[in-house]
């Protein structure tokens, strides 16, 4: 039986490309090792930014081969090209609108059937495709055999076996790409077909819309997407089509609402035909590495034990290595501050102060947390690259569920223990806006290392021997508040369904040092960029408030003025105004609390315990832990939500929570 081909009017662009520069899009499902290939090809010669107008990361890079310059664009990892997520829209829009010279479709050789689904979709777009069978080593480990030549013969497109982590197959891929765009490869793809039952419907749709489809969309592709129920295409055609035609189209779509299942089923049937001779999968055999590891790592009890062990290791590493380094850098900054004070003669006094207290004391202080962040990013990059992170999300899902979140929110929240800024940026992996915004709202409740540093200094001042218990109690309070806020917002405030939890568990594999290294590097650069802009500006602003109008006498400054205005509020918490000022300055960077107390009280370690009752002291620490997020975090919230309103809600919520908690602790303590 001859299967009618769906997409014939959109032939691949095969007129040879003569230009010296070739643009290639890298496409693939998540977890197929696409970024390892991208990194191996482009090294540090890459640019990381955002897709225009989107909060999805865009990576571009280039390399030179056979006298050609190849520009690579790393498309977001997607399972299909239906507009279910922003990533999927970006991937297909890029191929349709920018028309790269070629697409490299990366599949995981260990699960060829599933990962070829994206190829089935890519072949329906008008750009020639090279198929890369990546992770051949993982396939061997799991007992799956793939024959590249047999698959190439079946598909009619170039097929290259690869093991990107060992640098195998990259050159062959570049050769295949250049041969393809030079027209040297007999490119003759067998494209997936639709069930005969739907063929007539599809033709009807094509006839109806053909004259109206705007460029650059191929009419038959649009028709297919309409039949799949693709929201974006339905919307586009509703806008574009004359009313009468749209009503005809709409009634056809209404009658074939379930067509997506048949279309997806037909694509999988096509994959089965293509791989029949090329893939050998042992029916029964020795259990693969992944199955053996998962006996423990997803076990209801041992999985949790393993997760807690992993977390303990990360925090242990942070405190064993990161904290001493942070303290070292902190000492260095203090040293610089003194050097600026002592060394700059003949320079106006305000300028010396601005440099030392404003710039070094504010933005410089934030940078001292870099070692801690590097350890955090390295640990998370490692867990992500081995495939464990998805298991952590699976294990954590039960707890996240009560908060209206699911397992995928676990990783960004975990990052929050290092610094809230990357936690907010990390929410990008969450698909739905509702779950993403809720996670963003909860992230500042995770006590970051900066806040823990303040507690580490102040808890012993107030509570001596019991300091460690107080610190643990404060962390527990924060997590408790997080749970309550999550439940309240999930149940009462945010409307809509909780996010769907559908997540692939990738096969385990050995981590790649280059992939992890670049992950750490890119996150560090992003953090430093933020420290050099937003945080710097805010540090200077607060410094201005603390310096003027009394030329450096902080007790007469605008800041003190604000602090005194807050005296009634301070009274309710048993706090004198300098402590209110200390809280206010923690908005710039949490550790400013310590610096401000130092400025206002001098030797605060001896003075403070005489000024505050124990309940006021405890209240102050609770407020400090729950207070409004630092300015860098607020900037990140605004950037990621693109919403001033949600940013204001987040800040307002934290302010209300912290002050209420502070008053409660003090008043209840006073009664006892």
């Amino acid at each position: 039986m001859r299967y009618p081909t769906v997409i014939e009017t959109a032939p691949a662009r095969l007129s040879p490309v003569a230009a010296a520069t070739i643009t290639v899009a890298l496409a693939g499902q998540p977890n197929v090792g696409k970024s390892t290939i991208f990194n191996a090809l482009t090294g540090l010669n890459q640019h990381v930014g955002n897709w225009p107008g989107k909060t999805v990361e865009q990576k571009t890079g280039s390399c030179t081969y056979r006298d050609r310059r190849l520009n690579f664009v790393d498309l977001p990892g997607t399972y299909s090209l239906t507009a279910n997520s922003m990533e999927e829209r970006i991937a297909r829009d890029y191929i349709l609108h920018e028309r790269p010279d070629g697409v490299v479709a990366v599949v995981d050789s260990a699960i060829p059937e599933r990962s070829l689904y994206l190829l089935a979709e890519l072949l329906q777009l008008p750009t020639p495709v090279v198929l890369v069978l990546n992770m051949m080593d993982v396939a061997t480990q799991e007992g799956v055999q793939v024959e590249p030549q047999v698959l190439q013969a079946a598909l009619g497109i170039p097929v290259v076996p690869m093991c990107a982590t060992k640098n195998q197959g990259l050159q062959e891929m570049l050769d295949a790409l250049i041969d393809l765009v030079e027209g040297k490869f007999p490119y003759n793809p067998r494209r997936p077909v639709i069930l005969p039952a739907h063929q007539r419907v599809l033709e009807q749709l094509i006839t109806l819309i053909a004259d109206h489809v705007p460029a650059p969309y191929p009419a038959d592709w649009v028709a297919l997407k309409l039949l799949e129920g693709d929201g974006e295409m339905v919307h586009l055609m509703q806008e574009t089509l004359p009313r009468a035609v749209w009503e005809q189209v709409h009634s056809i779509l209404y009658q074939h609402e379930d067509a997506i299942l048949d279309i997806a089923g037909a694509r999988y049937a096509w994959i089965a035909r293509m791989t029949r001779a090329a893939v050998v999968r042992p029916r029964v055999g020795p259990m693969g590495l992944t199955a053996r590891l998962d006996r423990v790592l997803t076990h209801p009890l041992w999985g949790m034990v393993a997760l807690l062990g992993v977390l303990a290791c990360i925090f242990g590493l942070t405190y064993a290595i990161g904290v001493p380094l942070q303290e070292g850098l902190d000492g260095l900054i203090q040293h610089l501050v003194r050097a600026v004070h002592d060394g700059l003669h003949g320079v106006p006094h305000w300028l010396v102060d601005l440099l030392s207290d404003g710039l070094l004391g504010g933005a410089g202080m934030v940078i001292t947390f870099l070692p801690i962040l590097v350890i955090f990013f390295a640990a998370l990059g490692f867990l992500e690259d081995t495939g464990y992170m998805a298991r952590a999300a699976y294990n954590a899902d039960r707890f996240m569920h009560a908060l209206g979140l699911h397992g995928k929110s676990f990783m960004p929240l975990l990052l929050g223990f290092g610094c809230n800024v990357p936690a907010i940026l990390g929410t990008r992996i969450i698909e739905t806006q509702r779950a993403r915004w809720l996670t963003i709202l909860l992230a500042p409740l995770i006590p970051c290392t900066a806040r823990m540093a303040v507690i580490a200094v102040l808890a012993p001042v107030f509570f001596g021997e019991a300091a460690a218990w107080v610190a643990w109690g404060l962390v527990a309070v924060n997590l408790g508040v997080l749970a309550v806020v999550g439940i309240v917002f999930h149940r009462l405030v945010l409307k809509g369904e909780p996010a769907m939890f559908i997540m692939e568990l990738p096969l385990y594999h050995l981590p790649n040092a280059r992939t992890i290294g670049l992950y750490v590097w890119q996150n560090v650069v992003a953090f430093l960029r933020k420290a050099g802009t937003v945080i710097l500006a805010a540090s200077v602003a607060v410094w201005l408030l603390s310096y003027f109008p009394a030329d450096g006498d902080v007790t007469q400054s605008y800041l003190a003025w604000i602090g005194r205005a807050l005296t009634p509020l301070g009274k309710a918490m048993g706090l004198p105004w300098p402590l209110m000022v200390a809280l206010l300055t923690s908005f710039v960077a949490k550790e400013n609390t310590i610096a401000t107390l130092g400025v206002l009280y001098g030797d605060f370690a001896t003075v403070l315990p005489t000024l505050l009752t124990p309940s006021a002291a405890l209240g102050f620490l609770v407020v400090q832990m729950l207070f409004i997020p630092c300015v860098a975090t607020v900037a990140a919230i605004r950037q990621e939500t693109q919403s001033w309103r949600w940013t204001a809600i987040s800040v307002g919520l934290m302010l209300t929570l912290s002050l209420t908690a502070g008053v409660l602790v003090y008043q209840v303590g006073a009664l006892l």
């Binding site: 997506i260 299942l261 279309i263 999968r281 998962d294 899902d397 397992g407 568990l505």
Partner: protein
């Protein structure tokens, strides 16, 4: 015909129907959950998400999501899982 959540680890279900909104159906279809496809349950603790094996890949499904995947129970096989 039962929801996927009713299957024990090791049991195989043949997918019959996906009950849910368009996005739900579309996402699962792309992952290979199409009618007639065998799905092996590898983890089902009776609470929390399930892990199922479909078309050679392991996929975690929230309980709510799994309860909207209706299957015909095929046979009990001695599978990888050792839970309980």
């Amino acid at each position: 015909m039962v929801p996927l959540t009713a299957l024990n680890p090791g049991q195989v279900g043949l997918i019959h129907q996906l009950r849910g909104g368009h996005e739900f159906v579309s996402r699962l279809a792309a992952l290979g959950f199409t009618p007639g496809t065998p799905v092996v349950v590898t983890r089902n603790h009776g609470f929390g998400p399930l892990i199922v094996s479909v078309r050679g890949a392991q996929v975690a499904l929230g309980r709510g999501e799994a309860s909207r995947v209706l299957v015909y129970v095929e046979e009990a096989v001695d599978a990888l899982s050792n839970s309980h």
